[in-house]
């Protein structure tokens, strides 16, 4: 009969902590890159040029409708197989795949926020004598951010959860380290129960931060 022992796992807590740091690194870098690319895509999609408009839609729809793991295989195994002597490290391949995937979602979120800005509010501010820079900083940005904030928070949580997939191409992040501890202690079940708790905790903490920031810096407008 199998008895559940968590105490064995806690002797191997160091690899989990170093895995957590790698998970944090790749997630934060993905958030930054994907937001940057997402803004670019959203602007391009809203521009008048039909060619770039079509290309950006094709990109967004393709990335949103394929699994992250297949994209990861294409970036890590597929592309280097086409180019002689070209190798990606698991970290870089993971970062590229996750950025490509998330930027498509973020482009849609950011576009939604930008479309929600009301023209008459911008015009009123301008007519009150605010400079266009002031309008951008005090009207456009806060309004758009308030509209896209919750969706952006969910997307960032999705990035952290999605980073577990990069363990498959041997990036030594949280899930990869957990598999290693499982093999060396034969206590896979306990490790993954603990890991489930860690990911839930990370999600809850991040969503609390997002809710707090919204409450303090982006309060609902008083009319």
């Amino acid at each position: 009969m199998y008895t559940i022992h968590f105490s064995v796992i806690f002797k191997h807590i160091n690899p989990l902590l170093s895995g957590l740091i790698i998970t944090a690194e790749i997630s934060v870098l993905t958030m930054i890159c994907a937001t940057f690319l997402g803004v670019l895509l959203a602007i391009v999609r809203m521009s008048g040029n039909r060619l770039v408009y079509g290309l950006s839609i094709a990109y967004i729809e393709f990335m949103r409708n394929i699994p992250l793991i297949v994209l990861l295989y294409i970036v890590y195994y597929g592309v280097p197989s086409l180019i002689r002597g070209f190798i990606l490290t698991p970290f870089v391949a993971g970062l590229i795949a996750m950025t490509l995937n998330s930027s498509a979602y973020e482009a849609e979120i950011i576009r939604g926020g930008l479309l929600g800005i009301k023209r008459n509010e911008v015009e009123s501010a301008l007519s009150l004598g605010l400079t266009s820079m002031q309008v951008f900083l005090h009207i456009t940005i806060p309004h758009a951010l308030r509209l896209m904030w919750d969706a952006l928070g969910n997307q960032f949580i999705g990035i952290i959860l999605g980073s577990s997939v990069v363990s498959i191409i041997t990036l030594n992040e949280l899930t990869y380290e957990a598999l290693g501890i499982g093999s060396s202690t034969s206590r896979h079940f306990e490790v993954f129960i603990l890991l489930l708790g860690i990911y839930v905790l990370l999600s809850v903490v991040l969503s609390s931060i997002f809710r707090y920031v919204k409450l303090v810096f982006l309060p609902p407008r008083k009319l």
């Binding site: 394929i66 699994p67 899930t175 499982g182 129960i193």
Partner: protein, 214 residues
């Protein structure tokens, strides 16, 4: 390039992907409906129990849920579990968390007065839920459910990691046979894209129809 026979293999993988996704979605929806109704309960144990259940399955990666079930079932119940059962259980639980949220908001969107009038007419709770609320909630739930289905089809690719042979695993197998890495994964990606994009168009159409009929 891959041969016709290998393309057929990938198509068979796609079929398995669709089967496991639709199967998990079907059972997950049933659980989700029950949880969606129970969440309106006044009993704090039921209410917060469901809240925790939903948060666990929505706030953790499906990959980890798969591993917990893959390693957990054999040791807890001392049974051998085939990969398809592990995948099916994990996808069902994962889906049920999302569908519980979908049905919770659909049920909440229906006017409380309907519950009250049904009860004042002497209809019992279950009858009201089944015959009055659910048919209306269903209509509201369809467009977001399509979104969940697309997510499930994509995320079912993670079951390849525990050895379940669906489209992604089949792509790994074909890749090992042919050594044409890029093409195989590109074709797999296209197959996922065709199915998910068609579904997302359909979802948008249904959404518009729901909005119009309001």
């Amino acid at each position: 390039m891959i041969s016709f026979k290998q393309f057929i293999l990938l198509l068979r993988g796609l079929l398995v992907t669709l089967e496991i996704s639709l199967g998990g979605m079907a059972l997950g929806t049933v659980i989700g409906i029950v949880l969606g109704f129970l969440r309106a309960s006044k009993n704090p144990i039921i209410k917060y129990g469901i809240l925790v259940y939903v948060e666990i399955f929505r706030d953790s990666p499906l990959l980890i849920q798969l591993f917990v079930i893959y390693y957990g079932l054999p040791i807890l119940f001392n049974i051998d579990v085939p990969a398809i059962a592990t995948a099916f259980i994990a996808i069902t639980l994962y889906t049920s968390g999302y569908m519980a949220e979908v049905f919770k908001s659909s049920i909440e969107a229906i006017n409380v007065a309907q519950w009250e009038s049904a009860s004042s007419l002497g209809l019992p709770f279950l009858y009201t839920a089944r015959k009055v609320i659910l048919p209306q909630a269903f209509r509201l739930a369809v467009p977001p459910s399509v979104g969940v289905l697309i997510m499930v089809i994509k995320d079912s690719s993670l079951a390849s990691v525990i050895g379940f042979v669906e489209l992604t695993r089949m792509a790994n197998i074909v890749r090992a046979q042919t050594f044409t890495t890029f093409n195989v994964y590109a074709i797999a990606a296209l197959l996922y894209f065709v199915v998910c994009y068609a579904l997302s168009r359909m979802g948008r159409l249904l959404e518009r129809r729901t909005l119009c009929s309001e």
